[in-house]
Amino acid sequence: MTVYTLCFLLFLVGLYGVLTSRNLIKIVISLTIMEFSVFLLLALMGYIQGGDAPILPLPSPDNQIIVDPLPQAMVLTAIVIALATNAMILTIAIRLYKKYGTFDIREIRDLKG
């Protein structure tokens, strides 16, 4: 139970970062921390008591319990999606720096109303 509470704590740390950061890059890093906390939760969900790694042939033939492999496949795909999102948002961030001359989001307010 403590493991899941720590994952949720990581999620809250990332959320605090997104809401209160003033630097563009810090917002991106906080978003990444939030994503990774969800991946941790997803990978930990598949654990079964006394389970071994889900590879055939089984590591030890007298232990027939393996952990759930489906959340691990989901996390792999989600990591690649997070990579694409990060690449996209960082490219936009460095182009924004070139156009506005600053990383501070309080200065980047062309669109209002």
Partner: protein, 145 residues
């Protein structure tokens, strides 16, 4: 952009060869050990990035490399789609069906189409990561010229 000193260049040459071979091992043994296309592709991209960072490159050479890597990425995805659509015409006539002969479990040449998918996805992921890296480096060179 500038290269680094000669010690870094020599060590990078040796290390990038080892990283490339290790990445290719992870890609091709994707149906026997954990890993597969994504993880192996990221390693192979890392080998190329190490060489570019330690040797430096002129601006035009970087642009040509980016064009080539973009082209290989699109080609690899098209090959994956072609292999998957081939399942519509051969065998049990469903999309993404595994229509090559399955061998024995645990051998390197087995499990039908899955090693081929791993190889093409590995090439695609490596080319995509290299393209992202080159785009960022080219932009930095452009704005500091």
């Amino acid at each position: 952009m500038q290269g680094l000193s000669i010690i870094v260049k020599k060590v990078a040459q040796i290390m990038s060869a080892l990283i490339f071979i290790y990445g290719a091992y992870i890609i091709t043994h994707g149906h026997l050990t954990p890993g597969g296309g994504f993880a192996g592709g990221a390693l192979v991209a890392g080998a190329f990035m190490l060489l570019i960072l330690s040797f430096g490159a002129r601006f035009l050479a970087l642009k040509r490399e980016k064009e080539g890597s973009s082209f290989i990425e699109s080609l690899a995805v098209l090959l994956v789609l072609c292999l998957a659509t081939g399942g519509l015409f051969v065998g049990s006539l469903t999309f993404f069906h595994n229509y090559l002969p399955l061998g024995q479990a645990g051998h390197l040449v087995s499990a039908g189409l899955i090693p081929l998918y791993n190889i093409f996805i590995g090439i695609e992921v490596a080319a995509a990561l290299l393209s992202i890296f080159l785009v960022l480096i080219i932009y930095k060179e452009e704005i500091s010229l």
